[in-house]
Symmetry: C2
Subunit: 255 residues, 2 copies
């Protein structure tokens, strides 16, 4: 088991941000900036393709959970993303994606294949990161843990959650069923799932098929009009409320 | 134009409840119990089949909007429901529904036909009620107006909203597309739409077809696992937040 090393620390508006490494995996842990906070639930997040652990979508969601719910939130860079080196395979797949995009060909087959490759690497990394985070006194091994990942975060999260009993609630969305549906059938925890009704990459049938595959007794699907990148901001608020319901704690105030 | 007559008044926990009539239509208006409240947005609601204006689902939703958002909320009894007389036609349709249910036959064709009949009567009643409510100084003619009706409330609400430009945001759900889809195509305001993934009466295809029919640029679908009557309570919270976003005003606190 790798231990967690903090490498930088800053704080703003009630949120403590600490960079860390677990082995050679770089991550960030956001926490309530209050010495009396005590133990609190943890939400692991996974970023989208081409992004990184501190993308504004990540820090924005973290703020909802940290200042709205009093939770800890952690994200690590996916292989080939953020502060991590790209392999020749990464470069080739990214080039192929850009080529397909420029040629107006479907991106789905390339994204599905490349994200599956990355997920195979990332799942054990997420497990090691969770092990290390649970070694921190403010998190511990007995508290509830959530997972939140959309797009590539779902490609990583579905196989991770399918084999990780410590995760008790998850938010997924916006991915294809090809590789993931079989793994989703092993997931029984409460989930919230986002899809875009006018997604130019993922058809309605594909999106609904992945939602349908989850074996969870309690599952919610949120569909919004709009294209792939137009997921409304209020779905982040909804996800934060979902975690507040399922991980305990928290009063959220929404303007 | 009928004027609005208040016939009873009570108050509890910050919510004023006033029974009223508009012509021979009995209704209830819930409002913030604060003399300094001033003008506030109005949400018209429509109750489900077999229920009435003060069913706990109605008063519970009203409380979210009145005490959470500072809005006015009004419901009237549908024809043949609540304090209103049943006609021979009502009795025959209800008997036919109970017969089909006991025989294990599909309820959909009877509900669709009977709700369409009731909606034809109820739409002008809702229009007259809105006219009368807007005559009250605390509501007025220039404020935003929402509509919230699930089940039979959607059968009434879709034709009402399709022809009523004063409604600026609406929550619908859980009905068949047969009669309503054509009318939904005329609706362009923001909507939130609920359906149950394991509804024993309305198939997924039927539910999705009605959602798809709305011409609204901004529309959200909330699907939850569970049967027809298992719509989760948190969807009422979500609907209240939807109205808070679209009708202005309001801070909602969710535990």
């Amino acid at each position: 088991m790798y231990s967690l090393q903090f490498t930088a620390e800053s704080s703003s508006d009630g949120m403590l941000e600490r960079d860390f490494t677990v082995g050679d995996i770089p991550g960030v842990l956001w926490s309530p900036d209050s010495p009396a906070a005590g133990r609190a639930p943890l939400v692991l997040m996974a970023h989208g393709g081409g992004n990184h652990k501190k993308h504004p979508a990540m820090s924005g969601r973290a703020r909802l959970l940290v200042t709205g719910c009093g939770f800890h939130v952690a994200v690590v860079d996916a292989p080939g993303h953020g502060d991590r080196p790209r392999t020749a395979h990464d470069e080739a797949e990214i080039a192929e994606l850009f080529r397909a995009r420029a040629a107006g060909e479907p991106e789905g087959p390339i994204v599905v294949r490349y994200n599956d490759h990355l997920a195979n690497l990332a799942v054990p990394e997420y497990r090691a990161t969770l092990d290390a985070l649970q070694g921190l006194p403010a998190i511990g091994t007995d508290g509830p843990v959530g997972f939140w990942g959309i797009n590539m975060g779902t490609a990583v999260g579905v196989p991770f959650v399918a084999t990780e009993p410590r995760i008790t609630a998850a938010v997924f969305g916006q991915h294809w069923p090809d590789v993931l549906a079989e793994k989703a059938k092993q997931i029984t925890i409460p989930i919230e799932f986002d899809l875009q009704w006018d997604d130019e990459h993922i058809s309605r049938e594909e999106g609904l098929a992945l939602f349908d595959a989850f074996a969870s007794k309690e599952k919610s699907l949120h569909v919004n009009s709009g294209k792939h990148k137009e997921l409304p901001r209020f779905e982040a608020d909804s996800a934060a409320r979902f975690f507040a319901r399922h991980l305990g704690r928290a009063t959220i105030t929404t303007a």
